[in-house]
């Protein structure tokens, strides 16, 4: 079926591209406000120590330094947006008060005329720390007095009868996997411009954020301002990938400082800050066991997971997003009814943990698929076949996993079968050269998509309201403007949301504009652009609002033509009567008449050609299968990815070009995540990956052309059948590559246990067993 150009399903080029390609994007560092000063933070150089004193005198005396602020200069701020009733809260001040808990934590802030001066001054702020409070002998002081064991969260659940299943099993396999800390590392770091107007008591904040309304809520609460007095402005965001979901303490500090000194302030972090002080992700130790019966069916699954929280349980991103979600996600697309997990999340003297694309799911997927491969190896069984007989096949749908994920639809087996075919078609016949070990990995997965309140409930097992609203308005020129509160952080919402509106309104794509505004104008997005949700949730809200506006247009046209609304249709901006060839009116004529002709106005049913609607979709799940082929160089331990094959099903694709782009981009991130990205700390918890020479990102040299196909089955659950897939390339591909490396190493591969499978890990295994 061919889609109409410029509507849902069209592979059209992006509306935002001309702006971004010509240097006219507006990122937070491009914002200039008259009278603006620059902020540089003084950050802790120690991981855990009491702050004995902070001497700012020399720094404050430099020319062009406006102020140097320490914790006591800012109001006592409480920010607590706990999302699970049982996670222990760790108070965190915007500037460390009393003690520093990780290297990189902000201790003081310099405000100066320009960033050069601000950094000069930051260097001469004299902070005296106590002796380290952490000792290797285990006599460390806890990070917080009220949490003596440093455990901020613990949860154990059991579904079905896992113990009995394991006792009766024909085979039990086990796998241990540690996942290094990684950084989302958007090329644009974090930053904000805060401008407080003391006369109006009004705070305007420009921020590189994924969740403007949530940032407004957090800022208002922390600074004790009414929410309507805080405005967060939306503009271009230079990559985010989850790191920009949380409200950052620096954003609160900069806003509080602007209120204190009454000047607009700008903070743009540098890469060292981004790599050390911005939240990291992953950081888990997982032990999983799988029980199989005589027919090789998965009869039981158990997991013990220890998650790293970093120095704070985090105030809006929360460490739960990693280990806890891993625990809830482990059964995945497989039919396993007996499952138990025990998850514990501990404080460490490192930067806090927050989301990064595929948060929690990446770890679950990697651990589970490596475990399944281990079972296949021990059984001498084909790895596709072992998965095929255990996946939730279409005959079992609808299916609810033991942790409560409800799959109403899905193509788990179909996508696996197709990946196997594509893999076989592309097989090169040549023999392996010496020292080159080839491995194949396969990874079928399911992704909670378009998370609304029900999806949030199913994923987390707790109530987490999440929905979006959108506004559509048609002007007298017959053109539509769409606004919503989910910023585009690269996924092209300016294009896809215009496609949805154009499709529903019957307008040409170029007659619809997405307008980026601010939290005072944009309809509310409760939780922002995250969790593969904007296409589904914002898209659904746009579709609903557009439907309302379409009806208003048709009602006025009906009055003008004296023809029943049901007999009218809009296509390409023109209104026709059913059965007639020539359109009667244009949308512009109708809207103009609606505004200017008083006779057409109707008391009690005023038509503003504008509507705002909210969408809170039912839970939906997209799925895909990814295979990877890798080549291991036995001499160096280096791994090169040779092929990535993906077949995915995200329901209706609004724009297949963008769907491909999301998947391929995430798959590249997965190459880094599986093979080399690693935030490292040295002795005394000093970060040693503070530049992009140390924290390695994939380049054109490590990435490959992704062989991609789609199974497009519109969802029966969501508006327009759309499902989300922004994270899927990451979730599936890390596991596929990990399994491929293990496969290349043969029996030795079973011992791989620390992701990323970096050259040293692989080489050590090959050479020392």
């Amino acid at each position: 079926m061919m889609a109409k150009p410029g509507t849902i399903g069209a592979r059209c080029v992006r509306s935002e591209d001309p702006r971004l390609l010509t240097g006219r994007g507006r990122y937070v560092a491009d914002v200039h406000v008259p009278g603006m000063l620059e902020v540089a933070f003084v950050r802790s150089t120690v991981a855990h120590a009491r702050i004995e004193s902070v001497d700012v005198a020399r720094a404050a005396g430099l020319a062009d330094v406006e102020a140097v602020l320490v914790s006591s200069d800012l109001p006592e701020i409480h920010m607590d947006s706990r999302r699970h009733p049982r996670i222990l809260s760790t108070p965190q001040a915007p500037l460390a008060a009393g003690k520093a808990r990780f290297v990189g934590e902000a201790v003081a802030m310099v405000i100066a005329a320009d960033r050069y001066t601000a950094e000069d001054a930051a260097e001469i702020v004299d902070v005296v720390y106590s002796e380290p409070l952490s000792d290797l002998d285990g006599s460390a002081e806890p990070l917080f007095e009220h949490i003596p064991d440093n455990v901020v969260f613990r949860d154990a659940e059991s579904y079905g009868k896992p113990e009995e299943a394991f006792d009766a099993a024909a085979l039990v396999v086990a796998k241990k996997l540690s996942l290094a800390r990684q950084s989302a590392c958007p090329i644009e770091g974090r930053g904000c411009v805060a401008d407080y107007d003391p006369a109006a008591r009004h705070l305007t904040v420009h921020a590189s954020t994924q969740a403007p309304h949530r940032l407004r809520r957090d800022l208002a609460a922390a600074l004790e301002l009414p929410e309507h007095q805080v405005k967060v402005v939306m503009h271009d965001v230079g990559g985010a990938f989850g790191q920009k979901i949380p409200t950052h303490m620096e954003e609160i500090a900069v806003a509080a400082a602007s209120m204190r000194i009454g000047r607009p302030l700008r903070w743009i972090e540098d890469r060292q800050e981004n790599l050390t002080a911005a939240p990291h992700s992953r950081g888990q130790d997982i032990e999983v066991e799988l029980a199989l019966d005589e027919q090789h069916r998965f009869v039981g699954l158990r997991a013990r997971i220890v998650g790293d929280s970093g120095a704070y349980s985090f105030n809006s991103g929360s460490c739960l997003t990693e280990a806890y979600r891993t625990a809830r996600a482990l059964p995945g697309p497989y039919d396993v009814v007996n499952y138990s997990y025990d998850v514990k999340i501990c404080l460490t003297n490192r930067s806090p943990i927050a989301p990064y694309r595929g948060v929690g799911f990446v770890a679950a997927q990697a651990a589970r698929e490596l475990l399944i491969d281990e079972a296949a190896r021990q059984l001498g069984m084909d790895r596709f076949e072992l998965r095929r007989i255990n996946l939730v096949d279409s005959g079992k749908l609808p299916y609810t996993t033991c942790t409560g994920w409800r799959y109403a639809e899905g193509t788990f087996v179909e996508t696996l079968d197709r990946v196997e075919e594509i893999l076989a078609e592309g097989q090169d016949g040549g023999g392996d050269p010496d020292d080159r070990l080839i491995g194949v990995g396969v990874s079928p997965f399911v992704e909670p998509s378009g998370v609304g309140s029900e999806g949030g409930m199913q994923v987390h097992g707790l109530v987490l309201p999440s929905h979006d609203a959108a506004r559509v308005v048609i002007d007298p020129g017959g053109k539509a403007t769409v606004s919503f509160g989910t910023p585009s952080v690269g996924q092209g919402l300016e294009t896809t949301m215009a496609q949805v509106a154009a499709d529903v309104l019957g307008l040409e794509m170029e007659d619809v504009t997405v307008s980026w505004t601010d939290t005072s104008q944009a309809p509310m997005s409760l939780t922002g652009t995250r969790a593969s949700r904007a296409a589904v949730v914002t898209g659904g809200a746009v579709a609903r609002a557009a439907e309302d506006v379409r009806l208003q247009v048709l009602e006025v046209a009906s009055a003008m033509l004296e023809i029943d609304v049901l007999d009218l249709d809009i296509d390409k901006g023109r209104i026709s009567v059913a059965g007639e060839g020539t359109p009667r009116l244009s949308v512009s004529e109708v809207v103009r008449a609606g505004y200017f002709d008083a006779k057409l106005r109707q008391e009690g049913r005023e038509r503003t050609f504008e509507a705002t609607r909210l969408y809170d979709p039912p839970a939906s799940y997209s799925n895909a299968c990814v295979a990877a082929v890798v080549e291991v160089d036995a001499a160096t331990g280096g791994v090169a990815v040779r092929r990535i094959v993906a077949v995915e099903d995200c329901g209706t694709m609004i724009n297949p070009m963008i769907v491909d782009g999301q998947f391929i981009g995430a798959a590249a991130q997965a190459i880094g995540a599986a093979l080399f990205e690693q935030v490292r700390y040295g002795p005394d918890e000093q970060p040693t990956t503070s530049t992009l020479m140390d924290y390695l990102l994939p380049t054109t040299q490590e990435t490959v052309r992704v062989e991609m196909e789609h199974v497009e089955i519109p969802s029966g659950l969501t508006e327009r059948g759309i499902k989300g897939m922004g994270e899927s390339g990451m979730i599936g591909t890390v596991a596929a590559i990990a399994c491929a490396v293990a496969d290349a190493l043969g029996p030795a591969g079973s011992a791989l246990r620390a992701l990323p499978f970096a050259p040293e890990e692989v080489w050590t295994l090959l050479h020392n067993g």
Partner: protein
């Protein structure tokens, strides 16, 4: 720090226009372009010469503007992303190809890729995928996985009459 206030004159041709400014000697070329000239299409991703987001072309050579000081531009000719479009507003063949092949998502690294590719295509013709990948290996993109970028540069190689 004693040099922090030292000033120098910079006279430079930027996107075909001659400009003359007095700046502190420690100001980077990137900050000069962005903050002094207001050309904010040049973006800073790492400020230590790895990511390539701030790439500009100086006398035909792609360089990292975060690693150059503004006075080093004196007497030179600079091309930034703002200078790629034709005077009549038409996209450069590279820009058009990036759009067609979805060679950008968030757009933050894009200027650097365009200018690295500009240098690459200025020097060579008839590139293979491998040589494009090699030529762009010094620029980081976190969004696209590079596939669209590589396809765009291959297309621009054919489309750009030069």
């Amino acid at each position: 720090m004693t040099d922090a206030a030292e000033m120098a004159d910079v006279e430079v041709q930027v996107n075909g226009r001659r400009v003359r400014r007095r700046v502190t000697v420690r100001m980077t070329a990137a900050d000069f372009l962005r903050d002094v000239l207001g050309l904010r299409g040049t973006h800073l991703g790492c400020e230590h010469g790895v990511c390539g987001a701030c790439t500009i072309v100086v006398d035909g050579v792609a360089v990292r503007s975060c690693l150059l000081y503004a006075p080093q531009l004196d007497g030179r000719s600079v091309l930034t992303v703002e200078g790629l479009q034709s005077p009549t507003g038409e996209l450069h063949p590279l820009q058009a190809a990036f759009m067609k092949h979805h060679g950008l998502q968030c757009g933050f690294c894009t200027s650097g890729f365009l200018l690295s590719a500009f240098e690459l295509l200025s020097e060579e013709r008839g590139l293979t995928e491998e040589s494009v990948r090699e030529g762009l290996s010094g620029n980081l993109c976190r969004c696209t996985g590079y596939q669209g970028i590589v396809d765009a540069v291959l297309e621009a190689d054919r489309a750009w009459e030069r």
